[in-house]
Subunit: 291 residues, 6 copies
Amino acid sequence: AMADDEIEAAEAAAAELKRGFETLEVTQPDPSVPVYFLYLNRPAHRNALTPISFAELPRALALLDRLPSARAIVLTGRGPHFCAGIDLSSLASLASVPSDDRAVASELLRRRILALQSAISAVERCRKPVVAAIHGACIGGGVDLVAACDIRCCDEGAYFAVKEIDLALAADLGSLQRLPAIVGYGNATDMALTGRRVAAEEAKAMGLVTRVFPSSAALAAGVTDLARGLAEKSTVAMTGTKAVMLRSRDLTVDQGLEHVATWNAAMLMSRDLEEAVRAQIEKRKPKFSKL
Amino acid sequence: AMADDEIEAAEAAAAELKRGFETLEVTQPDPSVPVYFLYLNRPAHRNALTPISFAELPRALALLDRLPSARAIVLTGRGPHFCAGIDLSSLASLASVPSDDRAVASELLRRRILALQSAISAVERCRKPVVAAIHGACIGGGVDLVAACDIRCCDEGAYFAVKEIDLALAADLGSLQRLPAIVGYGNATDMALTGRRVAAEEAKAMGLVTRVFPSSAALAAGVTDLARGLAEKSTVAMTGTKAVMLRSRDLTVDQGLEHVATWNAAMLMSRDLEEAVRAQIEKRKPKFSKL
Amino acid sequence: AMADDEIEAAEAAAAELKRGFETLEVTQPDPSVPVYFLYLNRPAHRNALTPISFAELPRALALLDRLPSARAIVLTGRGPHFCAGIDLSSLASLASVPSDDRAVASELLRRRILALQSAISAVERCRKPVVAAIHGACIGGGVDLVAACDIRCCDEGAYFAVKEIDLALAADLGSLQRLPAIVGYGNATDMALTGRRVAAEEAKAMGLVTRVFPSSAALAAGVTDLARGLAEKSTVAMTGTKAVMLRSRDLTVDQGLEHVATWNAAMLMSRDLEEAVRAQIEKRKPKFSKL
Amino acid sequence: AMADDEIEAAEAAAAELKRGFETLEVTQPDPSVPVYFLYLNRPAHRNALTPISFAELPRALALLDRLPSARAIVLTGRGPHFCAGIDLSSLASLASVPSDDRAVASELLRRRILALQSAISAVERCRKPVVAAIHGACIGGGVDLVAACDIRCCDEGAYFAVKEIDLALAADLGSLQRLPAIVGYGNATDMALTGRRVAAEEAKAMGLVTRVFPSSAALAAGVTDLARGLAEKSTVAMTGTKAVMLRSRDLTVDQGLEHVATWNAAMLMSRDLEEAVRAQIEKRKPKFSKL
Amino acid sequence: AMADDEIEAAEAAAAELKRGFETLEVTQPDPSVPVYFLYLNRPAHRNALTPISFAELPRALALLDRLPSARAIVLTGRGPHFCAGIDLSSLASLASVPSDDRAVASELLRRRILALQSAISAVERCRKPVVAAIHGACIGGGVDLVAACDIRCCDEGAYFAVKEIDLALAADLGSLQRLPAIVGYGNATDMALTGRRVAAEEAKAMGLVTRVFPSSAALAAGVTDLARGLAEKSTVAMTGTKAVMLRSRDLTVDQGLEHVATWNAAMLMSRDLEEAVRAQIEKRKPKFSKL
Amino acid sequence: AMADDEIEAAEAAAAELKRGFETLEVTQPDPSVPVYFLYLNRPAHRNALTPISFAELPRALALLDRLPSARAIVLTGRGPHFCAGIDLSSLASLASVPSDDRAVASELLRRRILALQSAISAVERCRKPVVAAIHGACIGGGVDLVAACDIRCCDEGAYFAVKEIDLALAADLGSLQRLPAIVGYGNATDMALTGRRVAAEEAKAMGLVTRVFPSSAALAAGVTDLARGLAEKSTVAMTGTKAVMLRSRDLTVDQGLEHVATWNAAMLMSRDLEEAVRAQIEKRKPKFSKL
């Protein structure tokens, strides 16, 4: 059911993924299950994000987006911590612009920040669902990253901090924009102005994560199950639901309703729907197309 | 204090309500209390919504809107479940459009979806407060429906599921637009992408319901009390608060402030306000006008 | 590092603050700590808000905004209650407009409401973080006021009520606009339509406060610590984070991202950032500039 | 290619149209041409709009919307003038609300205005293109009405005035909302604040009309040709273009682009497109489906 | 029909206006006609705007806003030119911020720009209509200023230039925000990117002015007539129309319609409306209340 | 004044541009003048746009964006016509998606349209000013393309048509989104619904072009002059003005004002400003930095 250029793109993506990354690791734990794990992979540095991370992250997500065998993605970290945020020396070099013309420096700095933001937003641009599995520290840029994910899970030892305030800057990679809708404006302000640690349980209470697992192992098992469940669902419904929710976030309710009506005018009459209805009537599990 | 055409409309509405509905039941339990119950009434089918439901629901709400004796409305379901969502065969026929011209079929499908959405949004168009009383299953279209209500209560056995994903489609009757503001964007995404059941307690924790009652009987008693309380308040304040909140949802804070200032420029100087102030000074319960 | 006119303005502000207020009290408990307390100070009237309160509140906040020695502000109330809302006789006189031309009366009333709203929004216009410390009753206008604060804390005996509905009016000083983003749309509607009391614990669960302290004394100590912590952070980061969050609240996510990128293009390359990075490398506490 | 319920609706619409209207006249000048004329038909009163007009207008447009033989609509007026605006006594009765409770009166008045607005907006809700043919006076409510049309033409003697200012009120039926996008904000303000007459030529220069014909007869012939041309085009393209433009008016450019991409995902692959492409290759006129 | 505090405010305003301004002149040419002229009054410097201008302008407009004898305002310039824009040395001092901390300097600069913008926007905050009468040069800040006016007239020798590009900066006092809605996005871009002169005739063609008079004297006479006409209209309708149009500019059409319905629910039932209807029936000129 | 990575990027861009394009031609007519011409270069096909055009266009603009020697860009066409729109066979293949699953086909089609839109929007993403020089036919996709340019000029023989309606589809590459702001909503609707030709003079009158030159040669000379003038201005001011205007297009006026204040907080204190002020005082032409 795929177009030729789609198939070609998929094969190229698979090949490029195989060549690997410097700061990331991408694996498909079980070849028979269309779930991929995307690891932040600088455990010696608590997976702090470098310019290379910011280049590789959107690339990896774009490749997974094209891969039919990837129907759900788990974003997690190697080592004891999810992510310590942006690497300190990267931050310093980001901020040091080689110009003594103030406007020239500002313009360049602005473009650099936009590029970093775009790397984070790649999680949203990816049509497949992205589940964040968080253990240990999730700080600064780490929070920016998971705030762009679709579902957030953590283990009991995980903690979160919008730490930018302690680096004397306003967080600029998305937390201030995405957190209020996730945890409420009051909780988001508290976190952003104080930079304090929020532990797993409080994170659950405020909606920052939706599931807390008792251990790191349980987290791994839990998100594997969760992702497997997502991967079994209809792709057209899954990508549609993600896309429609992201779009509705920025529209009025009426505009969002009209948008999803138009969306489903195009996407509703699928074979997957026929199969789902048939399966429900026959009281069996549906088998959705592998597009 | 009513205009002639208002009185006429009220009488016609009362007459039409008396004739009854096929899929709904409307009752006023206590004639001395201006509270109406609106039941989904297909208990044998777990109150699954059919094309007739979608036609009758906005009609019933429009009639209650015109009825001075209806100052608060409770929306609930007959039988053990609140609502199993859209009826499966209705969904199938909705999606099967008799045209082999793809564009013609899409255009017709889009209009049908808009019509269903409009039936759900009738809850918001109704000026009176609508309290959802949920027990048993509240699934798919059921969630769309309660998401449009003003206050949601349930008993301990109730559960909620944005089940459309398992029918291979993106929910298109309002849940994806209204839930994020109610439960937070993260909880909404988790529910919409996984289709999982959310039980009463979790629903309370995430703000999906604001009150959980220990039993079905307690729920009935509780919402009756709640609705009675709403019905005792000033109508002009009640309808104003509902209207202003719905409008503010889609405006910036500044625009919302200016809007409510303009609203109250028109609506504040009421007899009810005079009465409320007087009652407060005299430390007695106010008696508001029955408009 | 301040401009001449800035210094002048700061001195004038200090002098004016010293002259005091009729309905407020402003203190700096510890001259060595740049934290100010702003008290609602009509304890005999449960700090009910009068026209004078509405005039003094924005004035006090504007003065504190200009004062370099004020880097964090605590807003609280003298006596056993935080605030009983708008004073009843003030409300009555607000609503009684001396004109028998309905349009003239409406126009004047609208301007009066806009003026009151502006007094509440002064909390947001103030660039410094404002922490609300709430004990006892926080009702009506009191909720409007704390909803505009950046962080809300209370003690266990505090309770909240959007009480306007019982005065037969739609709340028009910001609660209907700001609460939904703080506590979720469902909780906000429940509070606004019923006017019911929400106790400390429930307030915490819904995000209305982020911290509950076991006693009034613990609250005082807690917010003092919290405010001191805020005051120690970089001013440019603190005011930037507050401003960016307020702005992002009314923009789409993409617009908000571009906005903060532009903001940081101007504000990121600060000495505070250099100091923060150096301090982190040297594993010591940073010393931020006192601007 | 129509669904059964569509056919039924079309037949019912045709029957109802045949029964006629009190203030309107609907004709299909040439049964072989799918163009309808909708006349304001109170020439003795310069087609001033009464409550009946406001009830009949949306009804007539809804019926034409369902009629396959109506592929383009011309809205014009019988007699020497297009429309003198809202009828004076109707306005007086609109404003006189039988309640001495100010809030009750305001609420009722607000609903009445919303109902009148909805009658005007029916022109936009109609999926078919509506061409206004204006001669003589087009004043007040007349301008509101034509501002909601898709294309506006007039003869040389026509003139336009946003006359509400001289009735001591702010225009509330759409001119203040729609005119600025049509004629520019400056021209709209000039018209609305002064109430001055704008003659045909100036109307053309500011974009209020797009075509001026030298005489009333030439106008009739011109719009007939224009409407015939519209009626020959693909219906799916025509209704799509109208709908997409109206929606884009209220979205950001990026949101509008995504919206039309989704729209065309549903509507592009039509037989009309195949026919259009084939016709273009064969250098002949296309024959579009009559849906 | 005025409240006591209104009368007091009016008297204070009259007194302050009498004391005069350094860079402005305010006159009421004919005491029997409620029209005021507000002159930019630094003819030796082509009325270039200084920090004092930016302080006096909003002050003068706020005073005129409170003055019942001012029902229309003409904004014009003494000497041969309307306004040469922001004074060069003022610009230089604005941009030279006495801090070597880049962030501190930026923050201060941002606040200064916001203050200048607020001075320009005072024209919109003034509830009365403001007519710009432009002769000679209208450059840079001059264009920002007239873009905020309600009606713009000029004589044949007038010319306009968004000159900021030639000072190596992006215009930041409103032209880039307000011009596109007035002259169209394409004309606005051409003017802003090239900084070229637009003469009176082209300004008329693109909607930048709505009336061009053949000479400076004719301009003075013309705007006097125009303003006198505005001053004769109903104040409640005039201020309402201005306010509603400004608000609608930033809302969707549907939101704007609901807003004006709410507005008129408050403001429509005026004595002026009764008088207007009566006058129209009696075919005489209405006499509106002097509020 | 450039960063190392900037220099590298510039050199790579120059090299890639030198390798040339299949459907485009890029030239710098005068090496001493930082103006580039970007030609649509399929004159035998009236420069109809193919999939390759849509791939090359954003690439070429991204390269020019990085090139310091490109300070202004002229977009024009080789041969007698500017652009005949999207190539017919490209359109046919775009619409024929190789899937018999309706939803799969729709999803793929939607992505293809988004990709084409992105190619057009590349004109706006390019920070440098892009001037369209239009002669002969500018149809369909050609109008989409020029609507995204900053300034539009044409010769007297040019004509414009939003021709998609005659291909039985709703235009989906930006005309329906961008034209209304350029020519007014009424002119845009007329063009889009009728598909009629608009000649140069009418295009000028409605703001679609801002300059009409008497001949093709005059057009070439005129835009060369115009672009040279743009290239002489301060780059920081030019890119800032373009960026701020594009952003303000989608914000409220207040949001736009705050945005440009923040922008200039970062970008105002440039050497170019100092030079501009000095030059103005010394009454000489400024020499801006070549960044």
